[in-house]
């Protein structure tokens, strides 16, 4: 194999998912909702498999199953039939109608088709049908994710209503365990909170004695409507443009002031979050979290020598990578590759800010693939990979460990229960990171050892 040119036009082993994928994930966090992908049959099946393999949950996503004829003459008939069938079978309250590369390219006017359908069949007006444009040839899954949140807010929370004192949280794409943890934090601040989207149950459901067509859980339409009356919003998203910011949208449409914070991973980011909550609710940080913070500090001290100077390549969604990078710098790890699945000047700028104190700056990659991440990791002598399970090929090739987190994790179980955020999530992360490094050292150390 010859060495790779840096200016190649092809992609090898993508790190990015397509736009409709993010839309499917976001809608999954809305109560009693379904998604219909307007495109060919394969898109929905691929995404179902991809999501289902990570969460180990049934994931039903409908398709308008376009044929050759509809690709030529337009997909209106299929889309209408698809909507009718999904509504008849699943009785959703919300139906996200998400386009794909095919229907964007043939130029179907989805809004107009839906409007015509509602005239033909007024009973469908009982379902909130939310069209989302998701051309797979532009942007990434995170664009589809944020666009979907914005689209549903535009429909349900677009004008000011009386203040209800709640806090809106737009967490971005985090794990079900993370969402549950957020709920608990807000409860401990004794403040009503509305989290959008909330797939903490729909993508991490328990066993029950009834198999539901649409799993229970998710942010209800009523709650989403109430977001317009919240006291303020917190959004864990510092990398998207303003038009994809849910908190910015509510601020402009419903006068709900909002703050965009980095994901609360790492001591520093968690402090920002807890301070913001404390300021906004005029409530001191509950004792439980002061203790967790102290425990995190204790864990950082316990772990510091194992971590110091270790070179790490980290990849994933922009906000996640950004937060992880900051955390790593704060515990003495050295990020050598920081790679985002999406595009973003903002990501690059912030990574450079977060790593300003390092002797050697990391390679910053955007809209990247695993070929480039692998080259970067090799060149920089990375000793550890952090990100989704898709880095496994690189880890095996370089014979370095991979700490699996984020999405997707397709070769382990329990991804939905990984806690990444808050002081507690950071402690978990720190322990996993440190033990990964220790396990490797132990393996390499002759016969292993019994005490550290």
């Amino acid at each position: 194999m010859k060495s790779s040119a840096s200016s190649h036009v092809s992609t090898t082993n993508p790190c990015r998912m397509c736009r409709p994928m993010g839309a499917c994930l976001a809608f999954r966090g809305i109560a009693n909702s379904m998604v219909l992908l307007h495109g060919s049959q394969g898109c929905s099946t691929y995404m179902r498999r991809y999501i289902s393999s990570h969460f180990n949950e049934p994931v039903d996503i409908a398709s308008s199953s376009l044929s050759e004829k509809s690709a030529v003459y337009g997909g209106a008939a299929n889309l209408k039939q698809g909507i009718r069938n999904v509504v008849a079978r699943y009785s959703p309250s919300v139906l996200g109608v998400v386009t794909t590369c095919l229907t964007e390219t043939i130029g179907d006017d989805v809004r107009q088709i839906i409007a015509a359908l509602l005239v033909e069949e007024p009973s469908l007006r009982e379902v909130l049908i939310v069209p989302v444009s998701a051309p797979s040839y532009s942007g990434s899954h995170m664009d589809g994710f944020h666009d979907s949140c914005v689209a549903i807010l535009e429909r349900l929370a677009s004008r000011p209503i009386p203040n209800n004192g709640a806090i809106n949280i737009f967490p971005g794409f985090i794990s079900p365990a993370d969402i549950r943890h957020l709920g608990r934090i807000l409860a401990d601040f004794q403040t009503p909170a509305i989290i959008l989207p909330d797939f903490s149950q729909t993508l991490d459901g328990g066993i029950s004695d009834v198999y539901r067509r649409i799993p229970v859980g998710g942010t209800s339409l009523e709650q989403i409507g109430q977001m317009a009356g919240a006291a303020f919003s917190i959004e864990f998203n510092v990398t998207s443009p303003e038009r994809q910011s849910s908190s910015a949208l509510l601020e402009s449409l419903a006068d709900v002031s909002g703050e965009r914070l980095p994901l609360p991973i790492g001591l520093r980011n968690c402090d920002f979050f807890f301070q913001a909550l404390s300021d906004m609710t005029l409530t001191p940080v509950p004792a439980r979290y002061k203790e967790e913070r102290a425990r995190l500090l204790d864990a950082m001290v316990d772990a510091h020598k194992y971590l110091f100077g270790k070179k790490v390549a980290v990849y994933g969604d922009a906000d996640m990578v950004l937060a992880l990078t900051g955390f790593m710098v704060d515990v003495g790890l050295v990020p050598v590759v920081c790679a985002s699945s999406g595009d973003g000047a903002e990501f690059t700028r912030r990574i450079s800010e977060a790593t300003a104190g390092l002797e050697t700056r990391p390679a910053v990659l955007t809209e990247t693939d695993f070929d480039r991440i692998g080259s970067g990791a090799t060149e920089a002598g990375a000793e550890l990979l952090v990100g989704s399970s898709k880095g496994n090929h690189i880890a095996r090739r370089l014979d370095i460990p991979l700490l699996r987190l984020g999405f997707p994790i397709h070769d382990r179980i329990g991804a939905q229960r990984l806690l990444h955020i808050g002081y507690q999530g950071t402690i978990n992360l720190l322990d996993r990171l440190t033990n990964t490094i220790i396990a490797q050292q132990q393996d390499e150390y002759g016969n292993g050892y019994s005490y550290m």
Binding site: M1, K2, A5, H8, V9, S10, T11, P14, R16, M17, C18, M21, N32, L36, G39, S40, Q41, G42, C43, T45, Y46, M47, R49, Y50, S52, N56, E57, P58, D60, A62, S64, S65, L66, E68, S70, A71, Q81, G82, I83, N85, A88, R89, S91, C101, L102, T105, I106, S136, Y137, S138, G205, I207, S208, D209, Y211, R212, R213, D371, K390, H393
Partner: protein, 469 residues
């Protein structure tokens, strides 16, 4: 919503014909879905919009068939998702190069969609061939390529000329039909590879293995059997496949075709063009495995081959009998549901379960065709529900209605079964232990038993299926 009285589950209007029951007491030949004339079961049609079909698309069909060719470059011409979701999807093992485990894409962007993707395709192909030095390249078209009208053929021809390796376009636009169309597109690509090579003399006592994808090393096992029988294998198509072998495929004496749904088309083309005979076989289950080997031996009418084959079968069956009996004792009387990609495999699975003393109460496939379903009906027990192109709600209702103990399918069906409190066996791409061949039968029994016999089910109630939300 229509309730299907014959089966007792709800189906979308228009899907009734895709489900039937093999009526108790009727002979296999006369069974028809109750109250219907015409074709026995509706199948091989486009999936219904909004039905949440378990099928993928044309591209997927082509991708899974060709992908195991390990020293070829597989370049997906399209937006990123098609490449992301099919990276290393098949789990096919290779004894040498592993180029097939990389997922290459032209990652088409908006400007390519507007101005055309041919320049990007040309550069991507050229640089990837330069870098990886593959023996051939397959270029898959995806939905939008079919719409924007890139001339794949012209670009491939140009690069083939410049680089001196076969560069073959695969016409696999996702919307062009169902997965069967993708299989066909793959077969056409394979035939094009075979046909551009000079045809050598026919090798006596030789076969090509068509339709095995070397999941968990299954193909190696099958090759081992053939070698013991005294046969030579010219080409594996496509598990652990190599371009140079496939180019020689026309010199084999016989094509043995498993996964008939995907590969019969290629066998037919080779029969038509080269007069090469083919045999449909199945390596799933001891009976079908043994019958397949005997059929192949029978074809060659060679005494030594015949004797060796009989000895092989006898020794393999004797070796696994005690362990199989162990599982049979513990599994007999249990009920299974089977939902797989092609109906041909379903036939073998019915027999394999029967060998374990189990009954298959429901059997279905994504892409079965009329003759496959005729065979399913012929083999199935009376009362068995037969379903084509099912969806999760239908499957959930059937699992519940029929009270099955285990579901056999792919990864999308697994969580559905588990939520219903039903055991599961993966018989799709993700399997990590061979389920084919004689040894595979023991693994299969162990897989089934390790889920059915797990103590976890004592805590998990059988859920009522798919109640309204």
């Amino acid at each position: 919503m229509k309730s299907d009285k014959r089966i007792g589950i709800e189906v979308i209007p228009g899907r009734e014909g895709h489900i039937c029951r093999k009526d108790a007491g009727a002979s296999a030949e006369t069974v028809k879905p109750a109250g219907q004339s015409g074709p026995d079961i509706a199948c091989n049609r486009e999936s219904m919009a909004g039905a949440v079909s378990q099928r993928a698309c044309v591209f997927c069909g082509a991708r899974v068939v060709l992908n195991p060719i390990a020293d070829a470059l597989h370049l997906i011409h399209g937006p990123i998702g098609c490449s992301t979701y099919t990276w290393d999807i098949r789990g096919s093992l290779s004894s040498g190069p592993e180029l097939h485990r990389l997922s290459f894409s032209t990652d088409l962007r908006e400007k390519d969609v507007i101005f055309g993707g041919e320049p990007k395709l040309y550069h991507a192909l050229s640089e990837l061939i330069e870098k990886h030095e593959p023996r051939a390249a397959f270029v898959y078209s995806t939905c939008i390529v079919g719409v924007i009208g890139d001339d794949l053929k012209a670009v491939c021809a140009r690069v083939e000329k410049e680089r001196g390796i076969p560069v073959i376009p695969v016409r696999s636009e996702g919307f062009k039909g169902n997965k069967n169309e993708g299989y066909k597109a793959a077969c056409q690509a394979l035939f094009s590879l075979i046909d551009r090579a000079p045809r050598g003399e026919t090798v006596p006592l030789s076969v090509n293995i068509l339709g095995d994808f070397n999941l968990a090393g299954e193909l190696w096992m099958i090759r081992g059997y053939f070698e013991k029988m005294g046969l030579r294998v010219v080409a594996n198509i496509s598990g652990d496949g190599r371009v140079a072998d496939i180019e020689k495929a026309a010199s084999a004496a016989l094509n043995v075709v498993q996964c008939a749904g995907s590969m019969t088309h290629l066998a037919r083309m080779m029969e038509q063009h080269y007069g090469m005979p083919f045999l449909r076989v199945s390596y799933v289950g001891t009976d079908d495995m043994a019958d397949s080997l005997l059929d192949i031996a029978g074809f060659f009418k060679d005494k030594t081959v015949q004797t060796r084959t009989e000895e092989l079968i006898a020794s393999e069956i004797a070796a696994l009998a005690p362990e199989l009996e162990y599982y049979r004792e513990r599994l007999k009387g249990r009920k299974a549901a089977v939902y797989v990609g092609g109906a041909f495999k379903a036939v073998s699975l019915i027999k394999a379960f029967r060998a374990l003393g189990m009954q298959v109460a429901m059997v279905g496939s994504q892409t079965g065709k009329a003759d496959d379903y005729a065979q399913v009906r012929a083999v199935a027990d009376p009362g068995t529900v037969i379903i084509d192109d099912a969806n999760p709600l239908e499957l959930a209702q059937l699992m519940n209605r029929l009270g099955v103990d285990i579901f056999v399918g792919g990864v999308k069906e697994r969580p559905v079964a588990y939520k219903l409190g039903v055991a599961f066996c993966d018989h799709n791409h993700e399997r990590k232990r061979p389920l084919e061949g004689f040894a595979g039968m023991v693994n299969f029994a162990r897989e089934v038993y390790s889920s059915i016999a797990s103590p976890v089910w004592q805590w998990v109630p059988r859920a009522a299926a798919a109640e309204g939300s």
